[in-house]
Symmetry: C2
Subunit: 701 residues, 2 copies
């Protein structure tokens, strides 16, 4: 993975804790957005120097103003450029010349606004590349730290009187969401350590910034609001380092629907990848992806400083049966199991008149909210090896007697085993008390369940599989395809060289050699036209199946020739492929693709029209090793048919896993110009009899 291009410590300081800040294009008119950074810096007690730059004024909002950047004496840590378009580009060049360490640009109207803007953005990229200045934006609403306070932002949400500090950092590709998150967290009594709007990410992007935050002693969780992914490698590195440091990385990403993907594209000028590949990315690198917006605030409390879970069994106690049932229902849908109470708890509750143990819930309704019973129950659940986490679901008491309802729960803050509280009524005071004490507490049964599922099921970074150096044979096969085009035979040669078992076949230049070829391959055979010009052989009439001897194959070859010539008169025909006809228990499709956002991916799906309809496939970052390939096989529902289902014969799942792993080595950089490859079908035979690929294609960039 690539190394940072600036000294990270210095970059971090200039970005988040600058001492001297230039505001280029600052305004004295409070009605203007460009006056905000100066006002917000002061309002939230920035202790460094503010250096407004405005050619037409000598003073702005009580601060001495400079006519240009050059007139400012001394070092400048961070310059916020508040000019538009070409003026912003010029200012960035000025900053670079002046030795400013980091510049941010507020204005949009670059790649987010069509072709003209994209060209302006290219100008920015050129300045960055040529000078080495680091840039946030354009289209960045600002960068904020709470301690020491640096409210370098034009976001109206920072008009709040008090900026609450905290230990979670927020990195957002949407500027307006910074404000929304600030207000939502504040309403919950939660503050942030840093908030940064990365805008169009010409230079500094989510990954590098997250990477900086891993080393920030004031940050213990990194929250991401994402519309796209521009520096996947850096984000991967950040997520892995964050995991090692015990800091969760939690992402909300738009584009789960195809309409949402379109929107992200048009809104940010970014390329949209598929949602499944982003999931694969999160899984590989240990990023917790949330599906509800509010979860970005709800989830971190349950993840910070938490080693990987031991299992997925959650014990639930409650003073509201209906409320707890909602939490249980949602948790079960999220894939968690519910653990019943241990005998020790059943025995302890019995003399108190509470019958536990019949169902899985421990319902204390009859005990009201008696603090000692609630505390004793939670204590015994936490001590039980039969569960991996505990949730207490509170009813009306949380609303009317917050101190009383919450008091017995506070002692369970920061327990080694995950413990969370779900509030059934609106009970803002209880929520605030719990949050302030460090007890993860939730407003909605859905968000409580999502948080607990992420806590217990969230991925940890997977070791990156070593990719063996490509064999000479595979490089030769690639070269042959580059030179002559990848027809089916050359694709098969490449796959075979990678280690994919291919159906026995023979290429012949013309129909005259069919009989001899059938004798060599062995009937029954399949006959296919060979042509790099014909992508869909079947539709061109270029395939004949189930030929039982040389004679009928010869007849078929002549018919194929006639049909193909009629269908594609301009195609160059390179002869025929005679292939041993194979049968399997199941047909699998393997797909390799270089995704524009996350890089090489591998997809395993069931072949056939039904699987296509059901979109039944598993996607991972490539390469995968055989162990991960096995996990993928386990995720393709339809492959249950070969994993051992009812009376069906088992397929050779081990060989399938090995083959997936071998195919995924296309991720090696030597194959960088292979943008897509597919094997369809790969036949899975009886256990012990292997797999065999029958057809495939390779697409070069």
């Amino acid at each position: 993975m690539s190394e940072p291009k600036s000294d990270p410590k210095k970059l971090f300081a200039a970005l988040f804790e600058p001492k001297r800040i230039a505001l280029i294009g600052a305004s004295a008119d409070p009605a203007k957005t460009t006056s905000r950074p100066q006002r917000f810096l002061r309002k939230h007690r920035f202790t460094g120097e503010i250096l407004p730059v405005n050619p037409s004024r000598s003073e702005i909002l009580g601060e001495m103003a400079y006519k240009d950047l050059a007139s400012i004496p001394g070092e400048i840590d961070h310059a916020y450029i508040l000019l538009n378009g070409a003026a912003a580009v010029a200012a960035l060049a000025e900053c670079a010349k002046r030795g400013v360490k980091v510049a941010s640009i507020l204005a949009g109207g670059f790649a987010d606004a069509g072709a003209a803007g994209a060209s302006l953005q290219d100008d920015l990229a050129r300045v960055v590349a040529e000078t080495g200045i680091r840039l946030v934006g354009p289209n960045s609403i600002g960068t904020v730290s709470t301690n020491p306070p640096v409210a370098l932002t034009a976001n109206a949400a920072f008009a709040v009187d008090k900026l609450r500090s905290g230990t979670w950092a927020l990195v957002s590709q949407s500027g307006s969401l910074i404000g929304a998150m600030l207000s939502r967290a504040d309403a919950r009594g939660i503050g942030f350590s840093r908030l940064i709007s990365v805008g169009n990410e010409v230079d500094l992007a989510v990954g590098e910034i997250a990477d900086l935050l891993v080393d920030d002693p004031r940050t213990d969780a990194i929250l991401l609001f994402m519309e796209t992914l521009r520096d996947g490698e850096r984000l991967a590195r950040a997520a892995r380092r964050a995991h090692a440091a015990g800091k969760p990385v939690i992402a909300y990403k738009l584009g789960r629907s195809s309409i949402g993907q379109e929107l992200a594209k048009s809104h940010t000028g970014a390329i949209a990848g598929s949602d499944a590949t982003f999931d694969a990315f999160c899984r590989r690198h240990g990023i917790a992806r949330v599906s509800m917006f509010e979860s970005l605030i709800d989830v971190p409390a349950l993840l910070v400083d938490r080693p990987p879970a031991t299992g997925k069994r959650v014990a639930v106690a409650t003073t509201t049966g209906g409320g707890a049932a909602m939490v249980v229902d949602n948790m079960a849908m999220a894939g968690l199991d519910i653990a019943g109470p241990p005998q020790a708890l059943v025995d302890w509750l019995k003399p108190l008149g509470i019958a536990a143990g019949e169902g899985k819930l421990v319902d204390l309704t009859l005990a009201g909210a008696k603090p000692e019973i609630v505390a004793g129950t939670i204590e015994r659940l936490l001590a039980d090896d039969g569960n991996d986490a505990v949730i207490f679901v509170v009813g009306s008491s949380a609303q009317f007697n917050p101190e009383l309802a919450v008091e017995p729960l506070l002692r369970f803050a920061r327990t080694p085993k995950p413990f969370a509280v779900s509030l059934t009524p609106t009970a803002e005071k209880s929520l605030a008390l719990l949050t302030a004490s460090g007890v993860p507490a939730f407003r909605h049964p859905e968000s409580c369940s999502e948080a607990m599922a992420l806590c217990l099921l969230r991925p940890v970074p997977q070791p990156l599989p070593a990719v063996a150096e490509p064999s000479r044979a595979s490089l030769d096969a690639l070269e042959a395809g580059r030179v002559n085009g990848f027809d089916e035979r050359r694709a098969a040669d490449l796959f075979a060289a990678l280690g994919v078992p291919m159906a026995k076949s023979l290429a012949i230049p013309d129909a005259k050699r069919v009989v001899a070829a059938v004798a060599e391959v062995g009937a029954p055979v399949v006959l296919k036209i060979l042509s790099a010009d014909i992508a869909h052989k079947t539709e061109a009439g270029g395939v004949a199946l189930g030929l039982m001897d040389g004679q009928s194959a010869a007849v078929a070859a002549r018919e194929i020739e006639r049909r193909v010539k009629a269908h594609s008169p301009d195609a160059t025909l390179d002869g025929f492929l005679i292939q041993k006809m194979e049968r399997g228990l199941a047909e699998v499709i393997l797909g390799f693709r270089r995704d524009p956002l996350v890089g090489p991916t591998i997809t395993v799906g069931l072949g056939g029209v039904l699987a296509e309809i059901y979109k039944d496939a598993s996607t991972r970052l490539a390469p995968v090793d055989a162990a991960e390939a096995r996990e993928m096989i386990g995720e393709v529902k339809g492959l249950a048919t070969v994993r051992g289902y009812r009376n069906l014969p088992k397929g050779d799942v081990a060989a399938l896993a090995r083959t997936i792993a071998a195919f995924s080595t296309l991720a090696h950089k030597e194959f960088a110009d292979v943008s897509e490859a597919e094997i369809n079908p790969l036949l899975v035979k009886h256990d012990g009899e292997g797999v065999v690929a029958v057809d495939g294609l390779v697409v070069l960039r």
Copy 2:
């Protein structure tokens, strides 16, 4: 559908607007739950008479107390029984004797608490059946009206100082949820007309109560919190009448997961039905089912007084691109389409410096929150025929300048076209202002999307298909199965009589007649053993496929006999079924089942192991007509293969629909003892060639 057993007007008055209320077992000790009804009634200004009954006191909390019910002079509208167990049963009998119109029982410990409780509950049911008294509960935390105020409840949540009145009624099978809903709604500035906890529903259940509320002039939406369904027919009737009256019925139901279903069962002593059948119930009768708890409060505003939607295209304008993108992403996942702005709006915005029309969102960020631009935009979107609803997504302005941000939106309250506001930051004041003015407003992008999806896609009650009277032949076939047991042949006779095309077949008493039978049916044939004692013929070795002539069939028959006798030595063998071997484009499974909650259902699924793995099926209440059967076919993803997919040949979908409808007539009451029936497989042939059923079974109750 069944008719109400009491005069609904009188029942309604006694239940929700009683003038004289007896509190049996009332306590003067404010620490006791049994003191609450009296305190809450007074606190919330009940203007009628409270009649506490307590043998050991002459006065309770300032009210004259009676030693028993008999001592109370005059009529009693409603008695709340605050005693436990057998004492509660006795009190109910007293109430009946005394002519009390409605009694409610607070105590749990009946069917919700195992066998002993169930027997006590039977005693309650007996009193109800014998005397005709109407009962709420047991396990009812109370019945509340806000206007006129009647807080007849023991729910601690009613300790609030002021009971907000409103026009939505809540009927809940969970008592504690009443309190949670009260607090959640109150925090949003929303009140209820009525709230009732129905408990174990020995007598009055959700359906009958909802039916009463349809005629309540103070109620315009009926919200249900459900754990089970005990009076489906009554609820169906209520939902249909509510729809006709323009009052939406909105349900949250537990048990979407199987663990949740288990829990509902153990928690309420109720039978659990499948979740898909409850969905089918809601769809048939026009109930809007929500998946998020908070949606029960969020959704009604968008549904009240709203005729069925014209389409599913939503236009979105915003001052926060990121916030709007979340709403769009969630709406798209919920099945809605996004409509771009009309040219008139694009043209109007252009001179204002706002470029709309490139993407589908109308992003007014550059215009800030200028009221006239916001209002002008919404106006033009509402006037556009290119969309069916409009959403405005508000950013930080909602938080800092609620009056300003909300002012231009208020005029769009109660527009004929649905209009909603989604708030991206926490902005409680804006939310309250919008809610008070009648503009549906949402805190979360997820709930806004769920509400809009329900608004535009919610089901309207479907006409109940007329079920033709069963033919003589079908009744005879049923009777034959009743008398002799339903082997495959008798099942086939019944299905054929219903109108299901069955594969040509002939039953013969022994192997000697095989050759002649094959000649009559026509090869190729399938040979199957006939025995009502053998459920799984294939596993018993009782089936031979693809027999090409009489000779091989005769051999196969002897082998079958030998295998079956070895496998099931005690089974009575009734000979063989010789069946024409049929082929089709697709195999379908039809299932008929009498669901314990919703009654007769019909399920259509794809046959084969893959479809089983994918759980690809559509369920409806039975009977269905051919039109609804077509909808079902459209919902089975795998049936795309016969609906016209790629190059695949089309199947006879019309014949399939007719056959589904014919099979679903098993719902007729004449077949009431058929608890389950299945056809597997039903082969779908080429378009125009029909369908044919190959195998089936009937299970009698």
